[in-house]
């Protein structure tokens, strides 16, 4: 009786135990990696972190170890990423709603659009940078905050759009029927019902894209350029934190390299703060979601 059944139960229990151990190990690895990264950056950043680092722009010889700060890159990165995220959102939300409410599940157009977005998602950011650069030259623009915003928006768009698309797909069909039956147009159902139901997921998609945008160096290298001043207008070149890290880390001076870590710490902190703010907002948006 308990021969084969008992053996197989033992095997099943072992398999279960093995999987649990594996899952625990993965979780530990993730947390450890995060702590190591944060720890290393902070450890190296502390000597260089100061108020003037955050509140001043680079003075002459900053990259040789003289005084100044990275205010130019902090402001540049924030303006660039916020502008690009806003622009990408304006493109992503309507397209994702269109794919889910105006197109049938079996629609070929929708399938091809999703496929294109997935391909775009995978395109390396240096390619966006190069593409932005060519377009810029063709239009006779120079490296500027505006060109950077446009390029980073292009980089963020497929990420944000597909993330929003995926959460909209999970909205129950019956919800659409409920809104339809009240005489709502598709537009009203899309913007008044679907966006609310998917709000927490939409927010996650926006944050994901923002994080990718503010952390990217390759796409802004040629398009936003770099400047020691805070950009005064959209036409001015703008410094960014990833490039500030890159340039400072590339110098042979240890004290400048420390500043690179300080810049990295600032960048990480910005992303952390934005994620936390997003989570708080997400919890609020979650209140009304129909489970």
């Amino acid at each position: 009786m308990n021969g084969p059944a008992g053996r197989s139960l033992g095997r099943r229990k072992r398999a279960d135990l093995f999987f649990r151990a594996l899952a625990a190990a993965s979780a530990a690895a993730v947390i450890l990696a995060l702590l190591l990264i944060l720890g290393t950056i902070l450890w190296k950043a502390v000597p260089a972190l100061s108020l003037s680092m955050l509140t001043r722009t680079p003075k002459g010889g900053f990259y040789l170890g003289r005084e100044g700060g990275i205010l130019n890159a902090i402001v540049g990165s924030l303006e660039l990423a916020l502008g690009a995220t806003a622009l990408a959102f304006l493109l992503s939300l309507p397209l994702a709603l269109y794919l889910n409410l105006y197109k049938d599940r079996s629609s070929k157009t929708a399938a091809w659009t999703r496929f294109s977005l997935d391909v775009l998602w995978g395109v390396p950011s240096i390619v966006y940078g190069a593409f932005g650069f060519i377009v810029m030259l063709a239009l006779g623009l120079r490296a500027s905050l505006l060109a950077g915003i446009l390029t980073v928006a292009l980089l963020e768009f497929p990420i944000m759009c597909r993330a929003i698309d995926e959460v909209l797909r999970l909205v129950p069909r019956e919800l659409r029927e409920a809104s339809d039956s009240l005489g709502a147009t598709r537009f009203e159902t899309a913007f008044r019902v679907f966006t609310r139901q998917a709000a927490p997921g939409i927010l996650t998609g926006v944050l994901l894209a923002f994080g990718r945008g503010i952390g990217d160096a390759a796409s802004v290298l040629f398009t936003a350029g770099f400047a020691d001043r805070v950009p005064a207008s959209l036409g001015d070149p703008a410094a960014t934190l990833p490039l500030a890290i890159f340039f400072q880390l590339g110098t042979p001076f240890p004290e400048v390299q420390q500043r690179a870590y300080a810049s990295a710490a600032v960048l990480t902190l910005i992303i952390l703060l934005v994620s936390l703010a997003g989570r708080t907002a997400g919890r609020k948006a979650d209140r009304n979601v129909v489970k």
Partner: protein
């Protein structure tokens, strides 16, 4: 009941899902200010028939409709018919109550808002009036700002009723509206429907024969996509003419 007075007249309606024919040449008159109950075994096309009345089938893929549905004399499948106007004439209760992802108040105000009601005072009035009519006001008057999803399923179904009533329709459609509810909530919804027939035309789909006996004024029996028999409920229950109806009512087909 003369034909001319019937607010909904279905004429030779056939519905196909892809290659599958779900409704076969259905003709049906739905009398005003009565409860018409459509009964039949599951999969017979009851829900399809109900949803064809306010063109909710449009949202589904690969659906073809042949024939006519006349609402107040207007063919709702005619090319120029404005679908949102057709739907505004009918409130729908679905099998599982589906509240909108917003507060209790906003759920009821949603319909009036999209149809152009703006003033706070008017909206407040409408919300209260229809929550009362749906028998929910006393339970929610102090928590109108709470998410609708926090309500019990029974309350949610009455909220859906209030929401449907708030666009001031002439007709109420119920697609097995009590199937997800516990017995007391079911009774509550049934009671509401009995009260509402004074002012509204009600069409309810159900597979529960006892429910049909309790609430039906007019009965239609649908079997394998075909409308087998229809007439005043008392007559059909007392003396079904078609052998299939007789078999269904006696519980031989279910």
């Amino acid at each position: 009941m003369a034909n001319g007075e019937a607010p909904i007249r279905v004429r030779n309606l056939s519905v196909f899902y892809g290659g599958l024919q779900v409704l076969r040449d259905v003709s049906l008159d739905i009398p005003a200010k009565r409860i018409t109950v459509i009964v039949g075994p599951s999969g017979c096309g009851k829900t399809t028939l109900l949803k064809s009345l306010n063109r909710l089938l449009d949202a589904a893929e690969g659906v073809r409709v042949r024939g006519q549905v006349l609402v107040d004399g207007e063919d709702i499948y005619a090319p120029r018919t404005e679908v949102t106007r057709v739907r505004k004439k009918m409130g729908l209760l679905s099998q599982k109550p589906q509240v909108l992802p917003m507060s209790i108040y906003e759920n009821v105000a949603y319909g009036p808002r999209i149809h152009g009601l703006r003033s706070r005072k008017d909206l407040d009035g409408r919300v209260e009036r229809y929550l009362r009519l749906a028998g929910l006001w006393d339970e929610v008057r102090d928590r109108l700002r709470e998410p609708a999803s926090a309500l019990s399923v029974g309350q949610q179904q009455r909220l859906c009723l209030a929401r449907g009533l708030a666009v001031e329709p002439e007709i109420i459609l119920g697609d097995e509206p009590t199937s997800a509810l516990d017995p007391p909530s079911s009774q509550n919804v049934e009671r509401r429907l009995m009260e509402l027939k004074r002012d509204y035309t009600v069409v309810v789909v159900t597979h529960i024969l006892r429910q049909a006996r309790r609430i039906a004024d007019h009965l239609a029996f649908l079997f394998l996509g075909e409308l087998v028999e229809q007439g005043p409920a008392a007559e059909v229950f007392a003396g079904p003419r078609d052998p299939r109806t007789r078999a269904y009512l006696s519980g031989e087909i279910s």
